[in-house]
Symmetry: C2
Subunit: 155 residues, 2 copies
DNA sequence: GCCAGATAGTTTACATGTTATGTATCGGGT
DNA sequence: ACCCGATACATAACATGTAAACTATCTGGC
């Protein structure tokens, strides 16, 4: 009987089912994040950098910095630095908009697309492997419940 | 039809159910973490600091630094700093073990217990509120599936 | 006794998230 | 034309996570 359950028992039982549910989500997420981060690190990317590149590739056209931030549920300052990093790595471009000079548009470069293309299969495999013991029907159930948790939140 | 689904559609459809499942977990976790962090911040604590205090309270006896780290699935350097912070805040004690002088035992102080006691109800309420629309049976399902995801991982 | 390898923590360097604050620019009302 | 509030980012300050390197201490074998 491995990690989670025994660990948590040690520090007292759950105070409520809701708390147990919350902890289960947080712990599982931690695990998944770590695995993804390790894979990305092998290619010199951080999860944030990867997400920005994904968003830009998905969009197809240049995007203002803050639009990228919004899609990552992130605050502006974080994006500024990630964009700086990606510029240094030469995976994106950043140009001041001529319509509105407050705005800076970022776009993915071919080098960035190439990197993403190289990552697509390994990442797909990672996720497939992570979920390999979970039936499709359980996955759909999971997605449904998690979605309803997110959608019912006021903020 | 709100956030997640529409957002993700924008950047291209999911590549697989496994990927969708993964993203659902990560996004939901983000949401929960943010809500908890906000509540804790009102009391001057970070999530890490709170977790360390919880572990120490649950344990009841002094614990070596690295033992605390393990239970948080964290690496040693992170603990060093969180422990330092909690020392500065005067919520814990840290004493060198006389048996093995490499080891430093940390323990929660009464002030720390008092703070946790003050937090218990609000946090319970937060979790209850987050899950208020989710049936107990769905929660149990969620816990079961998430647990099986975690338990089936090799590392 | 002594030394090599293991173990507990710390320190350093880097990337990121957060809030608060500063800067440039835009845009609408007078 | 001008000014004031809003908007797009950038910067600063702080806490945290990670890997890598370092210190102190312990321990088993010779």
């Amino acid at each position: 009987m491995p990690s989670l359950k025994s660990e948590l028992k040690k520090r007292g039982d759950f105070d409520s089912v809701e708390q147990e549910t919350t902890l289960a989500i947080l712990r599982t997420s931690d695990l998944l994040e770590n695995r993804l981060a390790r894979l990305l690190r092998e290619h010199g990317l951080t999860p944030s950098q990867y997400n920005v590149l994904r968003i830009l590739r998905g969009e197809g056209t240049p995007l203002p910095c803050l639009d990228v931030a919004q899609r990552m549920i992130q605050v502006a300052p974080a994006i500024t630095r990630v964009v700086d990093q990606l510029l240094k790595l030469d995976y994106i471009t950043k140009t001041q908009s001529s319509q509105d000079r407050r705005v800076y548009m970022v776009d993915i470069k071919p080098s960035g697309r190439k990197l993403l293309a190289k990552l697509d299969k390994p990442i797909l495999n990672l996720h497939a492997n992570t979920m390999r013991h979970i039936s499709q029907s359980d996955q759909k159930t999971l997605i449904r419940i998690l979605e309803s948790i997110r959608d019912r939140q006021s903020d």
